[in-house]
């Protein structure tokens, strides 16, 4: 198992390197000249040339990449073109908000989605199953940003049950922290809950038809044992990769909730970087999200290996 995890870590690193090459190359295609952006509209050609030299922008792309990558490995993602802040520092400063949003939303997605899906699958054909199935179809179509807006309006603006905007750090107050996260995270996880519930329901129903269920039943296993000991465990492994994908989508779409609830998270930083043509910030932000998503995928793989002995390395 340890060997397997080490191996997966190594391949994670390789994917990360290739991804950084891809993204760095993509950014090079941009018609934007970072020196021009950094110096503003009134810069003289001499100033631009000097900065281009200083930043090594006149060197071959390959050299630029190696310079960027070696610095990045030491945790230095360069400086923002706007204001000159350290990219790493700017991102880390905003991480607590983003991590809170992601974490709580993923938690809701996993437990809400699995709970509803397993429940509906076990009782397939019942009224409860119909409700979950129809609810999931609607949940799939509801845009998270609209739901975010609607619940903000209903529960924060009109009913005043939750704060309209802003974020309370967990270090200040745990309940205040949760309180500020419930609305955005519910809206953020809704789509994932629907997807996971649908998938979980389907795999449970499929697991019920498996020959081993027939064999257990023919030798006297009661329904309770079949469902809770066997079917659920068998149904989980196909759902796990879906959970991984949905967690990635939550990380990517959290920016919407940051905007609606005016929370200064890392996603907002990314959007600002796009609007301001701040390429180092963009690259840093995307690489940071990439790291996180790859780690989620790694955890999913480890989880799969723990659940299913067939994918476990011997």
């Amino acid at each position: 198992m340890r060997k397997f995890i080490l191996y997966r870590f190594a391949s994670l690193f390789i994917v990360l390197v290739l991804l950084s090459v891809l993204l760095f190359g993509l950014v090079q295609l941009s018609p934007i000249d970072p020196a021009v952006i950094a110096l503003g509209d009134n810069a003289t050609p001499e100033q631009i040339e000097a900065l281009t030299k200083e930043w090594g922008l006149d060197q071959p792309v390959f050299v630029q990449y190696v310079n960027w990558a070696t610095a990045a490995l030491e945790g230095d993602l360069g400086k923002s073109l706007i204001g000159g802040d350290e990219v790493t520092h700017a991102i880390l400063k905003r991480m607590p908000i983003s991590v809170s949003l992601w974490g709580v939303a993923i938690f809701l997605a996993v437990f809400g989605g699995l709970g509803l899906g397993l429940f509906a699958g076990i009782r397939s054909g019942s009224l409860a199953d119909r409700i979950v199935t129809i609810g999931a179809s609607i949940g799939l179509a509801l845009p998270g940003f609209w739901v975010g807006l609607l619940v903000a309006n209903a529960f924060a603006v009109q009913l005043r049950w939750f704060p309209v905007i802003g974020y309370t750090p967990i270090t200040e107050s745990v309940t205040g922290w949760l309180h500020s996260l419930i609305l955005p995270c519910t809206a953020l996880s809704l789509h994932a809950i629907a997807v996971i519930a649908r998938q979980a329901r389907g795999t449970v129903i499929e697991a019920f038809d498996a020959p081993y269920v027939q064999a257990l039943r023919a030798n006297g296993a009661p329904d309770r044992v079949i469902i809770y000991r066997y079917v659920i465990k068998n149904a989980l492994s196909p759902v796990l990769p879906i959970i991984g994908i949905q967690a990635g989508i939550i990380v990517a779409t959290a920016v919407v909730m940051e905007r609606i609830y005016a929370m200064p998270g890392a996603g907002a930083l990314l959007i600002d970087a796009i609007v301001d043509n701040d390429l180092p910030m963009l690259l840093g932000g995307v690489m940071m999200i990439a790291c996180l998503v790859l780690i989620i995928n790694l955890l999913v793989d480890i989880g799969l290996a723990l659940l299913d002995p067939r994918v476990r390395p011997s």
Partner: protein, 641 residues
């Protein structure tokens, strides 16, 4: 050893699927799909002829009419600049549908071409393409779109291109997977042999098979593309703020949400309904393509009430342990129709004897064994019949009492032993399940007993292997473990459903010997379901021959094999190689077992019977005097002569 292929040359034939409805017919049967398609078409028409439908100019400002609620003049009210919301929604359908459709068409064109190329070429080309798609899919789609928009700029065209690029990756993967699968298929080889050029092969043979899955994916992608485009506008990265567009309208609504909450409703509903319709279209198409009926999912897990009235309790013979009486199983077929799968099956198991149940695939032997345990797969139903052990009807017991009998009084082993175990649980946990459920043994005691049992059935190094998983067991070892599980509570009766069919030829005899040895040791009665007459001759005392859900001949092995009194039994025997008599050729039975919905009237075997007369198809034949043939006595004479 006989080979089933001699009797039934192929399992894939036109009978395997129920009569297929055309997709048109399927669509008509799904009113929701019809409504979905019509609504989407309507939306498309409204978008195209927006100037005709919209009551106002969508960008005309009217400072006197700001933030007006819905009224006769403005059905959906006005926005912060006094613009008519309904008109903006109507015009907003243009970028919403237009950009999504354009992005998906582009994605499909690029993705399908690359996928066809990679899948058909294979080798290094395939590897490069697949690694590239891996890279792109390592990140959530939206993050990549952010990066692309940052590089090529904001606006509707870059947004569409970015979405098209990322969605093309999905097309590449699906297309390639289907091409690889179809390439292996026989008919492509056949077409190649027939001299079709490669180009024609791709277009004429592979593309039609692609269309089903791709249409499903396209419908769902249209929904997602529309969502992503609206989301980018909402974030101010997509379409220009002034142009009417649903995502941008929602962003406006966000700014005034405190005072004018209604502004968020129309654009949000518009987005949701369109996505819902696209998803619905995709789901309906998937159901149509796979012939899947949503109703089938709502299966009953437990057997519903079993009617045992009207079954005469046959007087028990002295040594009868179990009697099956008029067992009849129906499956729903089409609307309000029943299809009879098992028809009035009756036989008796005598204490300590082995009863062989033989017949071709599809004759109902396995169904009989499952029905004896009250375990007909849903939506089937045991509509009549009784299974009596010592005079007590198992099928009349409530489900929980019946469950308690399974494994204790009557246990079962299966054809594919590896599949009959859950892959994610240890062998030990599974084979000790009956001990823990029925006898309440502790985990430790059950494990100790499990090791003994595994050892008894010949699993070497049982103490270690008990913690292995099924995939670490060979087929033969898994069947031994399955036998250990079935015997753990020392049942009186063991149902063995083709226990050796899936095993290697060398292992078959060992497992069969083990079964017979255990039968002696445990004093068990065995029902052996098999298609192998050789096995029956070797191991069984009694034999029942099944055809099309009926027992056509029954009796003790010696007399049935010596003087078969049903033409089907004779045909089966002629199709079985035998070591003693020298046969020049085995004689396959012409034709196939018909499926339950095509069982002929009268004797069900008559279309394949060499002795058939007109009278054979007139009325159903009863099982009289151990044979279900009109000519039972004449047959008797022809064999003996």
């Amino acid at each position: 050893m006989s080979d089933e292929t001699l009797i039934s040359p192929a399992t894939t034939n036109e009978y395997d699927l129920p009569p297929h409805k055309s997709w048109m017919r399927n669509l008509i049967d799904r009113p929701i799909a019809i409504i979905g398609v019509s609504l989407l078409l309507l939306f498309g028409i409204i978008a195209i002829f927006a100037p005709f439908f919209a009551p106002y100019d969508p960008i005309a400002l009217d400072p006197l009419q700001r933030f007006k609620g819905p009224s006769a003049a403005h059905w959906l009210g006005t926005d912060a600049l006094g613009r008519d919301v309904l008109s903006r929604i109507i015009y907003g359908a243009r970028p919403a549908l237009g950009a999504a459709i354009a992005a998906v068409i582009l994605a499909a064109a690029v993705g399908i071409s690359v996928g066809l190329f990679a899948g058909y070429r294979g080798g290094n080309w395939d590897r490069v393409v697949m690694r590239a798609t891996d890279m792109v899919q390592a990140l959530p789609t939206l993050v990549f779109i952010f990066a692309i928009i940052a590089v090529i700029g904001r606006g509707i065209l870059p947004t569409t291109l970015a979405v098209a690029f990322l969605f093309s990756v999905i097309y590449v993967r699906i297309t390639r997977a289907i091409v690889l699968r179809e390439r292996e298929r026989l008919y492509v080889d056949a077409a190649r042999v027939a001299g079709l050029s490669e180009k024609r092969l791709v277009f004429s043979e592979i593309l039609p098979n692609l269309s089903g899955p791709l249409i499903v994916e396209t419908a769902i992608m249209l929904g997602s593309a529309q969502l992503v485009i609206a989301l980018l506008s909402f974030l101010g990265l997509g379409i220009d703020a002034d142009a009417p567009d649903w995502g941008g309208m929602l962003n406006d609504a966000r700014l005034y949400q405190g005072l004018h909450p209604f502004l968020a409703i129309p654009p949000g509903l518009a987005i949701t309904i369109t996505i819902l319709l696209f998803n619905l279209l995709g789901d309906s198409w998937r159901d149509i393509a796979t012939g899947h009926d949503e109703k089938k999912n709502h299966r009953r897990r437990r057997n519903s009430v079993i009617q045992s009235q009207g079954i005469s309790s046959t007087p028990l013979e002295n040594d009868a342990l179990l009697t099956v009486d008029g067992l009849t199983v129906d499956f729903p077929h089409g609307k309000n129709q029943q299809m009879r799968i098992l028809d009035d099956v009756s036989f008796t198991l005598n204490k300590g004897e082995t009863f062989g149940l033989v017949g071709e695939s599809g004759s109902g032997k396995s169904m009989t064994a499952m029905a004896m345990l009250g375990l007909v797969p849903a939506p089937g139903l045991i509509s009549r019949g009784a299974v009596r052990i010592d005079g007590e009807n198992l099928l009349a017991l409530p489900e929980n009492e019946l469950a308690a009998r399974r494994g204790q009084d009557i246990a079962m082993i299966f054809q594919d032993p590896v599949a009959a175990f859950s892959a994610v649980h240890t062998i030990g946990e599974q084979i000790t399940m009956p001990l823990r459920t029925h006898q309440g043994l502790s985990k430790r005691a059950a494990r100790d007993r499990g090791i003994e049992l595994l050892d008894r059935v010949g699993v070497i190094d049982a103490a270690n292997r008990i913690d292995d998983y099924p995939h670490q067991f060979s087929g033969g070892m898994a069947q031994r473990a399955m036998i250990a599980m079935a015997l753990s509570c020392e049942p009186k009766i063991l149902l063995a459903d083709e226990p050796t069919t899936a095993l290697d030829v060398t292992v078959q005899a060992q497992v069969l010997d083990l079964l017979m040895e255990l039968r002696e040791d445990f004093g068990m009665t065995v029902l052996l379901v098999t298609h192998d007459l050789g096995v029956v001759a070797e191991t069984c005392d009694q034999v029942g021959v099944m055809y099309s859900g009926q027992i056509v001949e029954v009796g003790d092995v010696g007399s049935v094999f010596e003087t078969p009194r049903h033409p089907y039994t004779r045909a089966l025997m002629k199709a079985t190689p035998s070591g003693e008599e020298k046969q020049d050729r085995l004689k396959a039975i012409t034709g196939r077992v018909p499926p339950p919905w095509a069982w002929p009237k009268g004797c069900r075997f008559h279309p394949r019977c060499e002795f058939a007369e007109d009278a054979c198809q007139e009325k159903d034949i009863e099982l009289i005097n151990l044979s279900r043939c009109r000519l039972r006595d004449e047959l008797d004479r022809t064999t003996s002569s």
